[in-house]
C-alpha cells in the first residue's frame, strides 16, 4: 500500500483546504438569508434605509462570496486529484450528488449573484427581491446536496458493493436522500451558517453603535441580526442534540470518542462534562460527570446502554475477521469461482473492515492476530482531540445563545444601544461562529477515521497513486495562494467595515458631507 506520508499529506491537504473553504461558506449561507430578509422589509415598507442595508451588507457578502467560489473549486478538483480510488469506489453514489448540486444550486446562486449586484436599475423592486431570495435558496440547496454527500460518508445507506465492477453502487436514491444523518446534518449546518451571518452583522452593527455612527442604519441591522440569530442558534443547538441522537444510532464509535466513554456503563449513561482522555490506558482522568444526560441524548431513554469504546473495539475485531472472509471470497469470485458467492454475500457488509488490514498486509487473508489487533485499534479515533474540539464547539454555541438571547430581549425592550457591555461582547464574539463551525467539522471528519466512507472504505486506501513531491507541490501552491488571498480579503473586509454605508456614496451617512452626490 501507500506510504503513511502520502496518506498523511493527502489528509492534511484536504483537511486544511476544506476548513479554509468553510471560513467563507457559513457567512455566505447566513448573509444571503439576512439580505433576503432586509430586502423583504424594504419592499414592504419602501424605506430607503433598508435598501442601503441590502447594498452595504451585500458588498461585504460579495467580498466573502468571491473567496467561497475560489476555494470551492479546489474541493471539486480534489476528489479526483487526491482521492482517486475513493472517486472510483464511490463515484456511483457521490458523483450524482455533486452533479445535482451543480444543476440545482451552483447555477442558481452563480447566475443570480450577478443580477443581485448589477440588476438594481434594471429590475423592478419585486423582481430584484426574487433574485435575492433565489440566491439565498441556491446557497442553502448547495449545502443540502453536499451534506447529503457527507452524510452518506458518515452513514452509507442505499448502496452495495458490486464484485463485477469492484466498487460501491447506488441501490436506493431515496435511502441516500433521506439518510437521517444527512437530514439532521443539513439543518444543523445551514442553521450554523445563519448564525454566522447573524453574528457578523450583529457584531459590526454593535461596533457602529458603540462608535455612535450611522445609528439608524446600525440599529435596524442589529435588530434583524438578533432576531434571525436567536432563531438560528436555537435550531443549531436543538439539531446538534438531534445529531447526538442519530450518532447514538449510527456512529457509535464517534459518539463514544467525543464523550471519552471507554467502558459501557449500566444505563442510563452519564455525560462527561470535562476530563482528560488517556488513549493509551483507555480511561478518562479527573472526569466530571452528570448522570443520565448522555443516555438521554444518545438513546432518548433511561434504560438503554451507550456502548463504550472497549466494547466497540471488540465488535471491530469480529467484523475484521468477517471482512477477511469477505475479501477471500471476493478473490475467488473474481477468479471465476461462482460457488464463493453465497459466502461472499454473507460477509459482504464487513468487506470494508477486511480492507483495514491492507495497511498491514497486502493480501489481507494472511493477517495474524497482531495485525487484526492493530487494525481494531485503528477503528478507535484519537479521543482527546475529539473530546476537546467538541466541547469548544458547544461552548461557542451556548455563548452565542446567551448573546442573541440578550440582544433580542434588549431590542424588544428598545434599550439595546445603552447596553454597552453587550455591544462590546458582540464585537469580541464575532469569531465564535467560525470557531464553532471549524471545530464541528473537525469532530465530524476526524471522528469518522480511519474511514473515508464509514465502515466501507478506509482512508489509507482512498488516496491517489501520487508521490510526496507532488503533494508538497500542491500544498505549497495552496499555502501561497490561500495566504495571499486571505490577507487581501481581510484587508478589503476591514476597509469596507470601517467605511460603513458611506461606501455606497448616497450622501446620507457618516463621513459624507451633506452636499456630496
Amino acid at each position: 500500500m501507500f506510504g503513511e506520508d502520502i496518506v498523511m499529506l493527502s489528509r492534511m491537504q484536504f483537511g486544511l483546504t476544506a476548513l479554509y473553504h468553510f471560513l467563507f461558506v457559513p457567512l455566505t449561507l447566513g448573509m444571503t438569508f439576512i439580505l433576503g430578509i432586509m430586502e423583504s422589509v424594504y419592499v414592504m415598507t419602501g424605506r430607503e434605509v433598508y435598501k442601503d442595508m441590502v447594498k452595504f451588507w451585500g458588498k461585504l457578502f460579495g467580498i466573502n462570496f468571491a473567496m467561497g467560489v475560489t476555494t470551492g473549486l479546489t474541493l471539486e478538483f480534489q476528489f479526483g486529484t487526491n482521492w482517486a480510488y475513493y472517486s472510483h469506489y464511490v463515484g456511483d453514489i457521490f458523483g450524482p450528488l455533486l452533479a445535482s448540486e451543480g444543476w440545482m444550486a451552483f447555477f442558481l446562486e452563480s447566475t443570480f449573484v450577478g443580477l443581485f449586484f448589477f440588476g438594481w436599475d434594471r429590475l423592478s423592486k419585486v423582481q430584484h427581491l426574487l433574485v435575492t431570495w433565489l440566491l439565498a435558496i441556491g446557497t442553502s440547496v448547495s449545502a443540502l446536496w453536499i451534506l447529503i454527500a457527507n452524510g452518506w460518508m458518515q452513514h452509507p445507506v442505499g448502496a452495495e458493493f458490486n464484485y463485477e465492477t469492484l466498487r460501491m453502487e447506488m441501490t436506493s436514491f431515496a435511502d441516500v436522500f433521506f439518510n437521517p444523518v444527512a437530514q439532521v446534518k443539513f439543518v444543523h449546518t445551514v442553521a450554523a451558517g445563519y448564525v454566522t451571518g447573524s453574528m457578523f452583522v450583529l457584531g459590526i452593527s454593535s461596533w457602529y453603535l458603540l462608535n455612535k455612527r450611522d445609528i439608524g442604519f446600525a440599529r435596524r441591522s442589529f435588530s434583524i441580526a438578533s432576531a434571525f440569530g436567536l432563531a438560528s442558534v436555537l435550531s443549531v443547538i436543538v439539531l446538534g442534540d438531534e445529531s447526538g441522537y442519530t450518532s447514538g444510532e449510527t456512529q457509535k464509535i464517534k459518539l463514544a470518542a467525543i464523550e471519552s466513554e471507554w467502558e459501557t456503563h449500566p444505563a442510563p449513561a452519564s455525560f462527561t462534562v470535562i476530563g482528560f482522555p488517556d488513549q493509551e490506558n483507555r480511561k478518562t482522568d479527573y472526569a466530571v460527570k452528570i448522570p443520565y444526560v448522555l443516555g438521554l441524548i444518545a438513546t432518548r431513554s433511561i434504560d438503554e446502554d451507550v456502548k463504550g469504546l472497549k466494547d466497540l473495539r471488540e465488535e471491530s475485531v469480529e467484523r475484521i475477521k468477517s471482512g477477511m472472509l469477505a475479501y477471500d471470497n471476493l478473490q475467488k469470485l473474481r477468479a471465476g469461482d461462482l460457488s464463493a458467492k453465497p459466502a461472499f454475500e454473507a460477509h459482504k457488509a464487513d468487506l470494508g473492515y477486511g480492507l483495514l488490514l491492507k495497511k498491514y498486509t497486502d493480501k489481507v487473508v494472511d493477517a495474524n492476530q497482531d495485525m487484526i489487533a492493530k487494525a481494531a485499534n485503528d477503528t478507535i479515533p484519537k479521543v482527546a482531540p475529539l473530546f476537546w474540539t467538541f466541547r469548544i464547539m458547544v461552548a461557542c454555541g451556548f455563548t452565542m445563545l446567551f448573546i442573541f438571547g440578550m440582544t433580542f430581549y434588549y431590542c424588544a425592550t428598545r434599550v439595546a444601544d445603552q447596553k454597552r457591555w453587550l455591544l462590546r461582547m458582540a464585537v469580541w464574539c464575532i469569531p465564535l461562529p467560525w470557531i464553532a463551525a471549524e471545530t464541528g467539522w473537525f469532530v465530524a471528519e476526524v471522528g469518522r477515521q480511519p474511514w473515508t466512507i464509514s465502515g466501507v472504505l478506509p482512508t489509507h486506501m482512498s488516496v491517489s497513486s501520487l508521490s510526496a513531491d507532488q503533494l508538497w507541490f500542491s500544498i505549497g501552491g495552496f499555502a501561497l495562494f490561500y495566504t495571499v488571498l486571505l490577507i487581501i480579503e481581510m484587508y478589503l473586509m476591514l476597509k469596507y467595515v470601517r467605511l460603513g454605508p458611506s461606501s455606497l456614496h448616497t450622501g446620507r451617512y457618516c463621513f459624507e458631507p451633506r452636499s456630496a452626490h
Partner: protein
C-alpha cells in the same frame, strides 16, 4: 426506460453538451480576460471590458464545475484517472482559475492604479492559462496518456508533467488559446462601442487566420502523425463497467480511417472549420451577433470532432492499451445513469431558461458613459 447501452450513449452526448456549453460561455469569458490588458489602454476602458462579462462570468463558470461533476457521476473512473494522473496540470488549471473571482470582484474595490493594474494581469492569466492548459490536455487525450489500472482498478500514472508538453500538445495549447481569444473578441465586439469595439474587430481580423491555420495544422498532424488504438474484443456494450475485460491493440486503422469508416462524423470538422471561417469573415465587417453565433458553431464543431474521433474511447492509455477507458466500460451503474438522466432532463431546461432571462436583463452595449453612471456598483 432506456437500456444500459442506450443510456451510455445518451450520457456520452450529454457530457458533450455540457463540455460545449462550457467552451462557448466560459470560452468568451476567458477570451475577454486575455484581451483585457491589450484592448483596454486605461482604467475606464478596462472597466468597460470587464463589465461586458461582469454580471455573467460566474454563472458561465458553473458549466466547468458541472462538467467535472458530471464526469465524476457518469464516468467515475475517468474522473479518478484523469485528475490524479495529470496531477500537476490539473492543479495548474485550478490555480489559474483562482485569479478570476478575486480579479473580478476585488479589482474595483480600491482606486489605486497599481492595485488595478495588478488585477488586470491576474485576469489576463486567469483568462489565458486555462485554455492553454486545457488545450494541452485535449492534445494528450488524442495522443493517449501513460497510465495503467491494477487488478483492483486503481489507476497508476506512469508519465511526468514534462512529458505532457510534447510539440503536438503544445500546438493544441496554442490552438485553445487562439480559439477562446477569437471567440472572446467577437463577444467583446458585440457588447461594446467606439474604440473598444474597433480594437476588438482588429483582434478578430488578426486572430482568425492564425486560428484556422493552427487548427488545420493540428488536424493534419492527427491524421498523418498519430496512431489510434483499436478495440479487438470486449464485453457487450451493456456489461457491468470493468475496463480490464477487453483487448486493445495500440495501432489500428488510424484517425483518418476512423472518420472514413463513420463518414457522417465528417460533419463535425466541416462545421468547425466553416463556422470559424464564416465567423472571421463576418466578424471583420459589421456583423455582431451573426459572427458570434458562427464562432459558437465552429467551437461546437471542433469539440465534437475531438469527441467523435475518440469514440468509443474516453481516455486512451498509451502504455497499456487494455487499460483505456471507453464509454462502454467506464460508466457508472445503470440506475445511477438513469437517475442523473432525469435530473438533467428536468434541470437543464430550467437553467437555460433563467440564464437566458438574466442575459436579457443585463444585455446592451457597455460604454464608458454607462460604466461612469453606475461607477460605485459596477466592477
Amino acid at each position: 426506460m432506456f437500456d444500459y447501452e442506450t443510456i451510455r450513449v445518451i450520457w456520452w452526448l450529454f457530457i458533450g453538451v455540457v463540455g460545449i456549453a462550457f467552451a462557448l460561455t466560459e470560452g468568451f469569458d476567458f477570451g475577454v480576460g486575455t484581451l483585457l490588458p491589450f484592448v483596454g489602454r486605461n482604467d475606464i476602458e478596462r472597466r468597460v471590458i470587464i463589465n461586458t462579462v461582469g454580471a455573467t462570468w460566474e454563472g458561465n463558470q458553473v458549466w466547468l464545475i458541472l462538467l467535472g461533476g458530471a464526469i465524476f457521476a457518469i464516468w467515475p473512473a475517468v474522473y479518478a484517472t484523469l485528475f490524479s494522473g495529470l496531477y500537476a496540470a490539473m492543479l495548474l488549471v485550478l490555480f489559474s482559475l483562482f485569479f478570476r473571482p478575486a480579479g473580478f470582484d476585488y479589482r474595483g474595490k480600491i482606486e489605486d492604479p497599481r492595485w488595478r493594474n495588478t488585477w488586470d494581469w491576474c485576469l489576463f492569466l486567469g483568462g489565458s492559462l486555462p485554455p492553454v492548459l486545457l488545450g494541452v490536455l485535449v492534445g494528450n487525450l488524442i495522443l493517449g496518456l501513460p497510465f495503467h489500472l491494477d487488478q483492483d482498478l486503481r489507476a497508476f500514472y506512469d508519465g511526468s508533467f514534462r512529458a505532457l508538453l510534447s510539440p503536438f500538445a503544445l500546438l493544441c495549447g496554442v490552438t485553445g488559446l487562439l480559439l477562446t481569444t477569437f471567440h472572446g473578441a467577437l463577444f467583446l465586439k458585440w457588447r461594446s462601442e467606439g474604440v473598444i469595439h474597433d480594437r476588438a474587430v482588429l483582434a478578430v481580423e488578426a486572430l482568425g487566420p492564425m486560428l484556422l491555420l493552427a487548427l488545420a495544422a493540428a488536424t493534419l498532424w492527427v491524421f498523418v502523425g498519430i496512431e489510434r488504438p483499436e478495440i479487438t474484443q470486449m464485453a457487450a456494450n451493456d456489461a457491468p463497467s470493468n475496463p480490464l475485460n477487453k483487448t486493445v491493440i495500440g495501432n489500428g486503422a488510424g484517425w483518418f480511417g476512423h472518420f472514413m469508416a463513420h463518414a457522417w462524423m465528417w460533419l463535425a470538422p466541416v462545421a468547425g472549420f466553416a463556422g470559424l471561417a464564416l465567423a472571421w469573415w463576418l466578424g471583420k465587417g459589421e456583423s455582431r451577433m451573426g459572427a458570434f453565433m458562427f464562432s459558437s458553431l465552429g467551437i461546437a464543431g471542433i469539440a465534437l470532432t475531438v469527441g467523435f474521433g475518440l469514440f468509443p474511447f474516453l481516455l486512451i492509455s498509451a502504455t497499456d492499451p487494455r487499460s483505456s477507458l471507453t464509454l462502454w466500460d467506464a460508466s457508472s451503474s445503470h440506475s445511477t445513469m438513469l437517475l442523473a438522466f432525469w435530473i438533467t432532463v428536468v434541470f437543464l431546461p430550467i437553467v437555460l431558461l433563467y440564464t437566458r432571462w438574466v442575459y436579457k436583463i443585463i444585455w446592451g452595449s457597455v460604454t464608458e458613459a454607462s460604466v461612469l453612471k453606475d461607477t460605485h456598483t459596477l466592477y
